[in-house]
């Protein structure tokens, strides 16, 4: 530890983590009563508000920012970098209040022991938004502390000095931050920081900045979890059940053990782990293990499709405005439209398979892994290996993609157990096949949409959706009581359009595989069903789909309506919406509100020889104040590509008791050849930063489906469309 680190590091991690837990406990006590109206309120709160930064509100500045001996400013990010650009966003926030160009700031992943790690993980489009306040606060407190220390050295008032690009300047004199620390007996941090700059004063926030990790990633630096090595490390490959719910019955590992370089085969409750000196040997030996599995039931896709059905499972009311039941009952008046929609289950299929390096030595566990939940990994190891939490330290490394798929890394506990048994560091890596087969997935969904049309007006709408849980497994059990419907699975299920009677219901069903969050969570499904349905309503009404949407965004109490109207109009104009139509070519529109972020998109498609080609996608977004426009654009592009991929190609099917997709040849995803021309319109307003990692995915699938209808006259009510319409 350098002297400056020693001087500046004053507080412990424990205070910080406890804050998060106390806050959660607090909300749990407040909302203990689980009856339908309360549940709806809680659900609505969680569904429409930005993810709270529990645990990040109270902190000590020096826990977040360190000035190293070489005057490098190191910012420890509580949120992990999985490609979403949070390091760059965080650097901009720190730069703004340190009055120092972002290039002087390096952002790192702290370990769970030595820096701020968000106890609730990284996800929910909340990373840059979540760090906007606390990082600026930490930076402002640090700046003031350094300015005051410098003033003391120069024996002048702090108002005479100014921090600038890693130095504090006073008249013609200047001292680097590191120099100030070296020359000061102690650095005093004020508890209450100075007033933070507002939008009009920003010099870095809101400017286009290249990624802080750009050079590392372009040079191919070893930055991912599975790139690391520890001395004396061995390699492990697991043998896991290919069957859903399969339990290990018996095995014969003789052939594997006879292979040169194989050290041992560890037997665990539900898997085996082959340990070898080399990765290749471990993998080849694992294939030689003959394992038998007990399977109670060999699930089929038909079983799953039959289970995921509105009317089955547990009923939960999500939205109940007006008197929809009576309106729909009255068959004498108006016309009822009713259509069904389905979305397929999906795999995350990120490029870096799940992997973990674990070292158990002297009663302590050290973990290196790419994870969205370092703290959960730490807690799980402590619990399962009967260790003290403080004896487990998790170092997060850059993630080779997250998308909600790294909230639980099965390799973490596997590696930890193995290293403890071996007394050597071990590198446990999923094969791609295991990443497809032994994992959790986005659940499939079924939707029944109803609308009542009277006098060419929509007077009532109803959305019933059936799907499995996404987040409840990751939450304390009490949350199920509090919210009723899973807030991730049913995210975006409720109607936002101005219609008098609106009803939304969830049917919680159970599928045989583990289901969890996937980029956009429920909004991928709910926005698809809702926005294709509204296209169908517009057709029934004989109205332009965009003008019809605009006419139903008139709730003046909901600021999002006005913001979305603006976005919709801009996208309409930029995409030349009413341009001439050609045979085999179509345009389609969809829009969404995802918490506070509003988005709209126009897809342009052609169908040639039965192949769908999205030729252009125009996307408009208002995500409030934009920290790094370049980063937001990247996220929008990512959502368009992933949304397109999910809409056209992705479906995870089960056959003969097994997940039927072992690799990319059986689970195709969008490739370069699918890449459309993309136009992004950034329309940031206000002083608040809202999420951008997921909202832009909401309009993608429905806009493509609506464009396909315009091109082919055929409605696409199920995803994936499968790229073979012949």
């Amino acid at each position: 530890m350098s002297s400056s680190e020693k001087d500046i590091k004053l507080t412990s991690r424990r205070n910080f983590l406890q804050t998060g837990l106390v806050l959660l406990g607090g909300s749990a006590v407040l909302l203990e009563f689980g009856c339908a109206p309360t549940q709806r309120k809680v659900f609505d709160f969680v569904d429409s508000n930005e993810a709270p930064n529990m645990g990040l509100n109270k902190f000590d500045a020096n826990f977040w920012i360190r000035i190293l001996d070489d005057n490098k400013i190191e910012l420890a990010s509580p949120k992990v970098e999985m490609g979403q650009g949070v390091f760059t966003g965080a650097a901009l926030c720190a730069a703004e209040e340190l009055n120092t160009h972002p290039r002087y700031i390096s952002v790192i992943h702290p370990t769970t022991q030595n820096g701020p790690v968000d106890p609730f993980g990284t996800g929910g489009s909340s990373s840059t938004a979540g760090l906007f306040e606390p990082v600026r606060k930490a930076a402002a407190i640090t700046r003031v502390a350094l300015e005051e220390a410098a003033a003391k050295i120069w024996k002048t008032s702090a108002s005479n000095v100014e921090a600038k690009d890693g130095k504090v300047v006073y008249a013609d004199k200047s001292l680097s931050f590191a120099e100030i620390i070296k020359q000061s007996k102690s650095i005093k941090f004020r508890k209450k920081g100075p007033a933070l700059k507002t939008r009009k004063d920003f010099q870095y926030i809101g400017t286009d900045q290249p990624r802080t990790d750009l050079l590392q990633k372009v040079m191919g630096a070893s930055i991912f979890g599975i790139d690391y090595e520890l001395p004396n490390m061995v390699y492990g490959t697991t043998v896991e059940s290919p069957y859903l719910g399969g339990k290990l019955k018996s095995f014969d590992a003789d052939e594997a053990l006879a292979m040169k370089g194989v050290l041992e085969v560890q037997e665990e409750d539900d898997y085996l782990l082959v340990v070898a000196e080399k990765r290749y040997v471990a993998e080849m030996a694992a294939r030689k293990v003959k394992a038998e599995w007990t399977v109670n039931k060999k699930w089929t896709q038909e079983d799953i499709d039959a289970a995921v059905q509105v009317g089955k499972g547990k009923f939960e009311s999500i939205q109940k405005d007006g008197n929809a039941a009576a309106v729909f009952r009255n068959k004498d008046q108006g016309k009822t439209l009713e259509f069904e929609y389905r979305t397929a289950a999906a795999a995350h299929a990120f490029m870096e398979p799940k992997g973990t390096i674990a070292r158990y030595a002297d009663g302590k566990m050290y973990i290196i892994t790419g994870t969205q939940q370092p703290n959960r990994d730490r807690v799980e190891i402590a619990k399962k290996l009967s260790m003290k939490k403080d004896d487990v330290d998790v170092q997060c490394a850059f993630l080779g993609g997250g998308f909600g798929g790294r909230f639980y890394i099965n390799k973490v506990i596997q590696a930890a157990r193995a290293s403890k048994k071996l007394g050597r560091p071990i590198h446990v890596l999923s094969t791609r096949e295991q990443d497809f087969i032994n994992n959790y997935y986005r659940p499939s969904s079924h939707h029944v949409m109803k609308a009542k049309i009277e006098n060419n007006q929509i007077v009532a709408v109803q959305h019933d959706m059936a799907t499995d849980d996404m987040i409840f497994d990751f939450m304390p059990a009490i949350m199920q009581k509090l919210m009723g419907a899973d807030p991730s699975s049913c995210h975006g299920a409720a109607f936002n359009y101005s219609i008098d009677s609106r009803v939304t219901n969830s049917w919680r069903v159970d599928t045989p595989y583990v289901t969890g969050i996937w980029r956009g969570v429920g909004i991928v499904a709910t926005s698809f069903a809702k926005e294709v349905f509204f296209d169908e309503i517009a057709e029934e009404l004989g109205q332009d789909p965009i003008e019809m949407r605009l006419a139903h965004l008139k709730d003046e109490k909901d600021a999002r309506h006005g913001r979305l109207r603006t976005v919709v109009e801009k996208v309409r104009d930029a995409s030349n919406w009413k341009g001439k139509s050609v045979a085999g070519f179509g345009k389609g529109f969809a829009c969404a509100m995802d918490r506070e972020t509003v988005v709209a998109g126009v897809a342009e498609v052609t169908v040639d020889n039965g192949k769908i080609k999205v030729t252009k996608f125009t996307l408009g977004i208002d995500a409030g104040l934009i920290v790094n426009p370049e980063g937001v654009r990247q996220q929008c592009e990512g959502c368009i590509m992933m949304g397109l991929s999910s809409a056209i190609y992705e479906e995870l099917l089960v056959k003969d008791g097994k997940v039927n997709h072992s690799n990319y040849h059986q689970y195709p995803v969008a490739m370069l050849s699918d890449s459309p021309e993309i136009e992004i319109l950034l329309l940031g307003t206000g002083e608040h930063v809202y999420g951008v990692g997921e909202p832009p995915i909401a309009p993608v699938a429905p806009a493509i489906a609506n464009a396909l209808y315009s091109a082919t006259g055929k409605r696409f009510r199920n995803t994936p469309f499968r790229n073979d319409l012949s």
Partner: protein
Amino acid sequence: MKINFKINGKAVSVDVDADTPLLWVVRDELKLKATKYGCGRAMCGACSLHVDGELTRSCSFPVKFAEGKEVTTLEGLSPNEEELHPVQQAWMEENVPQCGYCQPGFMMAAAKLIKEIDNPSTEDIKANISNICRCGTHPRIIKAIKRAAQIQQSKTSSL
């Protein structure tokens, strides 16, 4: 078995099972970690490198076939950060990566592409690179490859 070849211009000798994929030799024996394991079935391209100038998916290339050959990984594409290969320079200028995991493979494919097709169209790029990216950097990769081709041309013409 001892196998001798050149990696990024340097002669090396490795003593491993001759069928070990070049991918794992490069990563674990030679400690060059830019080359990634993605699918283990030569489908995703994350492990792409060059063998005697030919684009090769190293997970499906046993190290014995490298005997006497010249292997180039992303680490060997440019001498240092100041003298970037046109592909790396273009990747910087277009701010291409997100998570970054697939990018070394894409860059190695792109380096081969601009060698073979000096002024590639969008269609040339789409038809000639089948690597997989999950973050959605596709539109930037296409732009960056076109830019890399331009950089390459301006470098050649200024010589």
